[in-house]
Symmetry: C2
């Protein structure tokens, strides 16, 4: 069964998303799945001209047309901007278009017309100014899909997959908000995703400690003893091949990474530092626990680069490939 095309949302139109979309299409021969943008065709055409990129843009009226168009032109499902945009100068009036592009992508994935969605980066500050009330894509998707908001973020690069248990909070708050239950729930979601989305029959989880040397038997913090070790035991009791708590500093070199499929991390930078040290341009953000497949490049709107033609499309290309990879795995009998 052929894979439906991947839907790519506009993202903040004053950011680098449009440029990356054009560049990813130019490199479509490099294993890209067929994708279509939900964007303003006129602005993409103007952007291609501005950057000197030979990208013919073809407006489609239904996602099903994307596959036939894709080899010869960038298929675009029209989502017009409210007001013209200049690179690096966001206009809050366009937030309605940005939001509609995401919502349309979700609808198409729910109907199966798109196999997955990839979201170009949005800018939280601009979105708030434009009346958007969600902290980010993930919360908006949960809202659209009627979910409870216990989605899990995985970051992946070719040599590492990480899942932070606590995410976008101050480090002091991350330490305070860590619980046995959150570690177990995140571990279960991660193991499930490794099986279903990545086709790993018996996933191996490496669970990080919180403190230096994983606390060294309580000498430098007790969370490992009171919370993390019992959570690992509970995951193991649930049949998951989990090990830990491991000393955080010695679990990310090559030989250590060979021993697990994903690392469960206690806070944002414990996960993101090794990920971005190893695969800065190649990181992909994957939202686990959604009924649809959603990935995104692991970077922001980069207003300072917008319009210069210098932003790297590597992460977006990895996000598109990863979305198709997961969608294919979900089509397999479990």
């Amino acid at each position: 069964m052929a894979l439906a095309p991947v839907a790519l949302s506009m993202g903040e139109p004053a950011g680098i998303g449009g440029e990356l979309t054009l560049k990813a299409w130019l490199r479509r021969a490099e294993g890209m799945p067929a994708f279509f943008a939900i964007d303003d065709p006129a602005r993409l055409t103007a952007l291609a001209t501005h950057l000197g990129l030979a990208v013919p843009v073809t407006t489609i009226t239904h996602a099903a047309e994307a596959a036939a168009v894709f080899p010869n032109a960038l298929p675009v499902l029209a989502q017009p901007l409210v007001t013209p945009v200049e690179p690096g100068r966001p206009a809050p009036a366009n937030v309605a278009s940005v939001r509609a592009s995401i919502a349309r992508a979700v609808e198409l994935a729910q109907s199966g017309t798109a196999s997955a969605i990839v979201t170009n980066p949005i800018h939280k500050g601009v979105m708030y100014q434009g009346g958007f009330r969600f902290p980010g894509h993930t919360e908006f998707l949960a809202h659209l899909l009627g979910l409870a908001g216990d989605e899990v973020m995985m970051l992946a690069c070719p040599s590492l997959k990480v899942v932070p248990v606590t995410i976008h909070v101050a480090l002091a708050e991350a330490v305070r908000s860590l619980t046995h239950a959150r570690i177990v729930a995140t571990g279960l979601a991660t193991a499930h995703a490794l099986r279903v989305d990545f086709g790993i029959a018996r996933p191996r989880l490496a669970v990080a400690g919180l403190n230096p040397h994983a606390g060294e038997d309580g000498a430098m913090g007790c969370e490992e003893i009171h919370m993390i070790a019992p959570a690992v035991a509970e995951l193991r009791a649930a049949g998951i091949d989990a090990v830990g708590p491991l000393p955080p500093d010695t679990m990310f070199h090559g030989a250590a990474r060979a021993r697990y499929d994903a690392a469960l991390c206690m806070y944002h930078d414990q996960a993101l530092i090794p990920l971005k040290t190893l695969g800065f341009d190649e990181g992909v953000n994957i939202t686990l626990g959604l009924p649809i497949v959603r990935t995104s490049p692991d970077h922001g709107t980069a207003f300072q680069l917008a319009g210069t033609g210098t932003a790297s499309e590597t992460s977006l290309m990895a996000a598109l490939s990863m979305a198709a990879h997961i969608a294919r795995n979900r089509m397999m009998p479990q």
Copy 2:
């Protein structure tokens, strides 16, 4: 002026230190400085036989003899064990020998008979059982040298140097104990060491934030605004090329590392995760702020590997080379 030999302390004799000492000598042609062990000659000879390593051991009575011996045999300044030792089975009775080996190395470096000291790993638990009352080498060295205890730890591998402002404390305590004054003091010590010990005329410091995305303008923590940014400003006012606070996750990839000479990190794993991810076998620990040069391999006693012949000597070799490199730089006119 020729460099005096480097003094290498015994470390825990039931650990991997003796084996690494023998193996490092075997690879002396690979740019090793002349060094001598302060150890039990009989136990090193027996260990070489046990491991099948062709290392002739020559007892010397004065460090000055080491240079002549070194090309043909491992020079050992005798520090006998109290009781025979078996690999992996530490005997607290030998703590007196371990301690004396370190103290002797310090004396020799103070007198200039040794150019630097490199310490093989000790085991805190065993040392405590044997009546040693210092948390580690650094505190013992400060005691021997009559210092106030404001030494700074740098970890270095070929592609990265990091200095953690807080070190061996629980993460929650690291957050609580971070102060403007400690960041500034650590930054000043780091910049001084980069100039004097590494010969970098105008060192560039990258100062990490504490929170995800360096707090994102206060949205995820305020330490960057109240403490770290003012500390960076104070370092700059002192003439140091410091930048930050930087988002911790995006400061350790290759292109980012090219922009600084050392990263000032707010807690242990923020420094050690990237260091050990990039250079697991090659890390060297350097104690800054001492009147003598001291480095050590960046690993522990590894009792489970002791006697098996499988431990890697790479980090010890890097520590020996680094010690000589720093000693040479300190001989240069500033």
